[in-house]
C-alpha cells in the first residue's frame, strides 16, 4: 500500500496555529450560579432587561439535560470548572483604531496569518476581531456608517441601539431551544451585531476573526444579523485557536433575520484546535446557528468549511417562512486524527414556493468520525416547495467513519424533494491517472479532494475560497491513500 504511510503523515501533521499569547485577563473564577450571571451582565453594563433575560435563561438551563443523540463521544463536561467571563485588561478603554490595539494582540494575529492592516488596504474587509470574549478592534466603521450599516459588538449594540436589538435577540433561537443555546443565553460574553437598513447593499464583506485564548474560558459568542427589506449583507467568520491541554467549550449562538427581498450570506472557515494525536485538548464546538427568512423572497445562505475542533455539533438552519424565500447550505467538513463531527442543516419550509439547496461534502481521514445529519421539512402549507440535497462522503484510510442521516418530512403534495448521497474513497484509477501525468500522490489527492469540494468553495467569497483551499491542503498534508 503506497498510501498507508502517507495517511499516517496527515494524521500526525501538527496544528499550525498552536501557541499562546500572554495577555493579562480580567477573568471571573470558574463556576456558574446566579451571581456569576449577574456579574457578567453588570460588568458589561447591560440594561436591566438583559440581566433579567440572562437569569431567566439560566434558571431554565438548570432544568435541561445535555443532548445525547449526536454521534459523538466525549467525557462529561464539568460546567462548574469553566470560567464564564474573560476580558482584556481595559474593557472601558475600547480602541478606536488599530493604533490603539495592544501590539501583542496584533502580533498574535500576524502569527496566525490574519493581517488586519493588510486586509484593510487590500481586501476592503471590515474586521471586528474578537479576542477572548470582548471585541477589541473594529475597522471601517466610517464607510459602514455612511451606508447606515451598524456593525459592532453585541455589548455596544445593547448600549447604543437597544431598540434595534431587543425586538430581535432570541427570536430565532429562543433560550429554550436547546441545552447549549440556553447556556449561551445566560452567559454570553460578546459577539457581533449587524443591522442593514432597508434597501442598503452593505458596501463590503463583513468579517470577524474569533480566537479563543485565555485558559479555562469557554467562549459564548452571540451574533445577531438583521437585514431589513431589500438589503444585502455578506458576513465572514473564521477562527483559529492556540494549542492547549484542557478541552475548551465553545457554545455560540448565531441568529439571522432576513426581511422581504433581503439576502444574508454567512460564511465560516472554522479551524480551531482539534486536539493532539491522542485527541487531547481540542475545542468542543457546540453551536446553534439559525436563519429566519421572515420576508417574502428573502434568502439566507450558509457556507461552512469545518476543518478544526475536536468535536463539532452544528446545524446551520433556515426557517423559510416568507413566500418564495430561499435557503442554502454548503458545507465542507474534514475530520482526521480523533476528530468527530456531527453536522448538517435543517430546512424548514413553511411559506409557499420556498426552495432550499443542501450540498454537503464530508472528508474523513485517520480515525475521524463524521455524520451528516439533515432535516428537510415541508409543511402542509408550503405549496410548491423545492429541495435538492446532495450529500457526499469521501473516506481516506480504513479507520475512519462516515454516516449520513437525512430526515425528510413532506406534508405537501406539490412539494418536490430530491436527496442523493454517496460514500466512496478516492479511486486508485483517479490517483493513477493523475500520477501518470506527473503529479505527486499528495498533489493528486489534494487536487481530487479540492475538486470534490469545489461546489462548496465556489460559494465562498474570493478571499475565503483561497484560504479554505489552503486550509484543506494543510489539513490533508501527506494524506495520500
Amino acid at each position: 500500500m503506497t498510501g498507508a504511510s502517507a495517511v499516517e503523515d496527515i494524521v500526525k501533521s501538527e496544528y499550525e496555529h498552536g501557541f499562546t499569547t500572554q495577555i493579562e485577563s480580567d477573568t471571573l473564577p470558574p463556576g456558574l450560579d446566579e451571581e456569576v450571571v449577574r456579574a457578567i451582565s453588570q460588568r458589561k453594563g447591560e440594561p436591566e432587561f438583559m440581566t433579567e433575560q440572562r437569569l431567566k435563561a439560566y434558571r431554565h438551563w438548570l432544568t435541561m439535560r445535555e443532548p445525547e443523540w449526536a454521534a459523538v463521544d466525549y467525557p462529561r463536561i464539568d460546567f462548574q470548572a469553566i470560567s464564564y467571563y474573560s476580558a482584556p485588561k481595559r474593557p472601558e478603554d475600547m480602541p478606536k483604531s488599530l493604533d490603539e490595539i495592544d501590539p501583542l494582540l496584533l502580533e498574535t494575529y500576524n502569527k496566525l496569518g490574519i493581517p488586519i492592516e493588510e486586509q484593510k488596504a487590500l481586501a476592503g474587509i471590515a474586521v471586528d476581531a474578537v479576542f477572548d470574549s470582548v471585541s477589541v478592534a473594529t475597522t471601517f466603521r466610517a464607510t459602514l456608517a455612511e451606508a447606515g450599516v451598524i456593525f459592532c459588538s453585541i455589548s455596544e449594540a445593547l448600549h447604543d441601539y437597544p431598540e434595534l436589538v431587543k425586538p430581535y435577540l432570541g427570536t430565532v433561537v429562543p433560550y429554550t431551544d436547546n441545552f447549549y443555546a440556553c447556556l449561551n443565553a445566560a452567559v454570553f460574553s460578546d459577539g457581533t451585531f449587524v443591522y442593514v437598513p432597508k434597501g442598503v447593499r452593505c458596501p463590503m464583506e463583513l468579517s470577524t476573526y474569533f480566537r479563543i485564548n485565555a485558559r479555562n474560558t469557554g467562549q459564548f459568542e452571540r451574533t445577531l444579523i438583521v437585514a431589513e427589506a431589500g438589503s444585502y449583507v455578506s458576513y465572514l467568520e473564521g477562527c483559529t485557536a492556540p494549542q492547549r491541554d484542557e478541552n475548551q467549550l465553545h457554545a455560540a449562538v448565531v441568529e439571522l433575520i432576513a426581511m422581504e427581498d433581503a439576502e444574508i450570506k454567512y460564511s465560516t472557515v472554522q479551524n480551531w484546535y482539534p486536539g493532539d494525536a491522542q485527541g487531547v485538548g481540542g475545542i468542543y464546538n457546540f453551536v446553534t446557528k439559525r436563519g429566519d427568512c421572515r420576508g417574502a423572497r428573502s434568502k439566507i445562505s450558509w457556507t461552512q468549511v469545518e476543518t478544526g475542533s475536536a468535536i463539532t455539533w452544528k446545524y446551520p438552519s433556515c426557517i423559510l417562512r416568507g413566500d418564495g424565500s430561499v435557503g442554502e447550505f454548503y458545507s465542507v467538513a474534514v475530520t482526521k486524527g480523533r476528530q468527530q463531527a456531527d453536522t448538517g442543516t435543517k430546512m424548514i419550509h413553511i411559506g409557499k414556493n420556498t426552495s432550499s439547496t443542501i450540498v454537503s461534502k464530508g472528508i474523513s481521514a485517520g480515525e475521524g468520525r463524521q455524520t451528516y445529519r439533515g432535516l428537510v421539512r415541508i409543511g402542509q402549507r408550503a405549496e410548491g416547495a423545492r429541495n435538492h440535497t446532495q450529500c457526499d462522503s469521501l473516506l481516506i484510510g480504513d479507520r475512519c467513519a462516515a454516516n449520513t442521516v437525512p430526515y425528510i418530512e413532506v406534508k405537501n403534495p406539490s412539494a418536490k424533494m430530491e436527496h442523493e448521497a454517496t460514500t466512496s474513497k478516492i479511486s486508485d484509477d483517479q490517483l493513477f491517472y493523475c500520477r501518470s501525468r506527473g503529479l505527486t500522490e499528495e498533489d493528486a489527492v489534494s487536487m481530487i479532494v479540492n475538486g470534490f469540494c469545489k461546489e462548496v468553495f465556489n460559494e465562498l467569497p474570493m478571499e475565503f475560497a483561497v484560504e479554505a483551499q489552503k486550509l484543506l491542503s494543510i489539513s490533508l498534508e501527506g494524506a495520500v491513500g
Partner: protein
C-alpha cells in the same frame, strides 16, 4: 412472578399452555419477557419510532388468541386464493397452523415443511439452534414480544442442494373474533448450502376485521443458497400489522425480497439483513400504497459485516387521501467490510393534499473501500408525462392512473409468478381508481 408489562401488553402473552413442554423454550420465553419488562415502550424519542406512534395500537387492548379456530371449511378460502396459482400451500388461521386448510402436496426429497408447534413436539432438538439464529439478541421491542409469546408458526427446511420448483405459499389468514385479538406467529426458514426456493407470504383476512398480527420470520441462507421471497401485506383495513423479518446470509447466497404493502390501518415492517459470508447478495424491493387512514411504516436495516457483499434496496411509495408512510432505511458497513456495494433508493409520489411521507435513508460506514449511495425523492406526477399521454387523447384522470400504475409497475413487474403479479397489479389498480 413476572412483572407486568406496559400498557396491557401483558395480554398479548396469554397463550394457552397446551403446547410442547420444553424447558429450554420456556427459558427463552421468560428471558424475552424479562428483557421487555426492563425496557421502556417504544416512543418517539427513539430514532426507530420517531415517526410512528403506538397510541392507536395500545388503545385497542388486544389479547392473545387462546384456541385455534376450527370452524373454517376449505371453501372459506375461495375468496382468498389467487386463481391459477399453484403452490405448496400453508395456511395459518389467526396465527395457528391449520393443516386441514393447507395443501402441502408432494415435496421433493430434502424438503421439510411443517407447523412449528408440531415440530417442537416431535423434533425439538433440531430447532434449538435454529430459533433465534437470525434474530440473535435483537433489541427490537415487538420481535422480543413475539419471542416471549412464542407458540406456533411454520418451519421450512431445505437440506443441502434441495431445490423446490413450485413456490411455497404461506397464507396468514385472519378472522375477526368478538374482541380484538393478537396473533404472534414465528416462522423459521432454513436453506442449507445450495438449496433454492421461492416463498410467497401473504397476509389476508376474511372481511374487514379488527385484529393485530405480530409476526416474526427468521431466515438463514447457507452457502450458495437462493431464496426468492415475496411478501404481500393485504390485511384488513382495520387491522394492525407488525412484522419483523430477520435474514442471515452465508457466503455467495442470494436473497431477493419484494414487499408489497397495501392493507392494514397501521403497519410496521422491520426488514433486517446481515451478511455472514462474503460475496452474498441481498436485493429488497418494496411498494407501499398508503391511503385514507393508513400508516405504513418500513424499517430496513442492512448490515455489511463482512467484505465483498452487495445490497440493493429499492422502495417506492404512493400516497393518497390522508395516507401516511414512513421509510427508514439504514445501511451499515462495518470496519472490515471492504468492497461493499450498497445502493438504497426510496421514491415517493404524493397524490393528495393530506398525505404525508417521512423518509430517512441512512448510511453508516466504517470502511473506506466501498461504493455506497442512497437517493430519495418525493414528488408528483411529472407534467410532461401527463401532457404526453393527454396529447395522445387519454383523459387526465386516466393518464394519472396509468402513470401511477407505471410507477408501481417497476416493482410489481419484479414479482416472479404471473398469477401473483396479476393479482397484485389488480389490487393496486383497484386502489388507484
Amino acid at each position: 412472578m413476572n412483572a407486568p408489562l406496559h400498557s396491557g401488553l401483558e395480554y398479548w402473552l396469554n397463550a394457552p399452555d397446551d403446547g410442547p413442554d420444553l424447558a429450554w423454550l420456556d427459558e427463552r420465553r421468560h428471558g424475552a419477557r424479562a428483557r421487555l419488562s426492563a425496557r421502556a415502550l417504544p416512543h418517539s424519542k427513539q430514532e426507530a419510532w420517531r415517526y410512528t406512534s403506538l397510541k392507536s395500537l395500545l388503545e385497542q387492548q388486544f389479547t392473545a388468541i387462546d384456541e385455534p379456530l376450527s370452524a373454517l371449511q376449505p371453501e372459506d378460502l375461495d375468496t382468498v386464493l389467487i386463481p391459477g396459482f399453484e403452490s405448496h400451500r400453508l395456511v395459518l388461521v389467526n396465527g395457528r397452523y391449520a393443516p386441514e386448510l393447507s395443501m402441502l402436496g408432494e415435496l421433493p426429497a430434502g424438503v421439510r415443511i411443517g407447523g412449528l408447534r408440531d415440530w417442537l413436539q416431535h423434533d425439538p432438538e433440531s430447532l434449538r439452534g435454529q430459533l433465534d439464529a437470525a434474530l440473535g439478541d435483537s433489541e427490537a421491542f415487538f420481535a422480543t414480544l413475539n419471542s416471549a409469546g412464542l407458540d406456533d408458526g411454520l418451519v421450512v427446511w431445505l437440506e443441502r442442494g434441495a431445490v423446490l420448483e413450485r413456490p411455497i405459499e404461506l397464507i396468514h389468514l385472519s378472522v375477526g373474533l368478538d374482541e380484538p385479538r393478537v396473533a404472534q406467529p414465528r416462522h423459521l426458514v432454513h436453506l442449507e448450502a445450495g438449496a433454492q426456493a421461492r416463498l410467497i407470504e401473504r397476509y389476508v383476512s376474511l372481511g374487514e376485521a379488527l385484529y393485530c398480527t405480530n409476526a416474526v420470520m427468521e431466515v438463514v441462507l447457507g452457502r450458495d443458497a437462493v431464496l426468492k421471497h415475496e411478501r404481500l401485506q393485504m390485511e384488513s383495513r382495520n387491522a394492525f400489522h407488525l412484522s419483523g423479518f430477520y435474514l442471515l446470509q452465508d457466503e455467495n447466497s442470494r436473497y431477493s425480497g419484494i414487499n408489497i404493502g397495501l392493507g392494514a390501518r397501521w403497519a410496521r415492517t422491520d426488514l433486517n439483513t446481515r451478511f455472514r459470508g462474503e460475496q452474498a447478495e441481498c436485493v429488497l424491493h418494496g411498494l407501499y400504497l398508503a391511503g385514507d387512514g393508513q400508516l405504513l411504516d418500513y424499517h430496513l436495516d442492512v448490515e455489511h459485516a463482512v467484505p465483498n457483499c452487495r445490497s440493493e434496496e429499492n422502495f417506492k411509495g404512493l400516497l393518497t387521501g390522508q395516507g401516511r408512510a414512513v421509510f427508514d432505511g439504514r445501511v451499515l458497513v462495518a470496519k472490515s467490510a471492504q468492497k461493499s456495494d450498497a445502493a438504497m433508493s426510496n421514491r415517493n409520489l404524493m397524490l393528495s393534499e393530506q398525505a404525508e411521507i417521512d423518509t430517512k435513508p441512512q448510511l453508516e460506514i466504517y470502511a473506506d473501500d466501498v461504493r455506497c449511495s442512497h437517493g430519495t425523492t418525493v414528488g408528483q406526477i411529472e407534467p410532461e408525462m401527463l401532457f404526453y399521454l393527454r396529447s395522445r387523447g387519454i383523459d387526465a384522470s386516466q393518464a394519472r392512473r396509468m402513470l401511477c400504475l407505471g410507477f408501481a409497475g417497476e416493482v410489481i413487474d419484479q414479482l416472479g409468478v404471473e398469477a401473483v403479479r396479476e393479482h397484485v397489479a389488480a389490487a393496486v389498480g383497484q386502489r388507484l381508481t
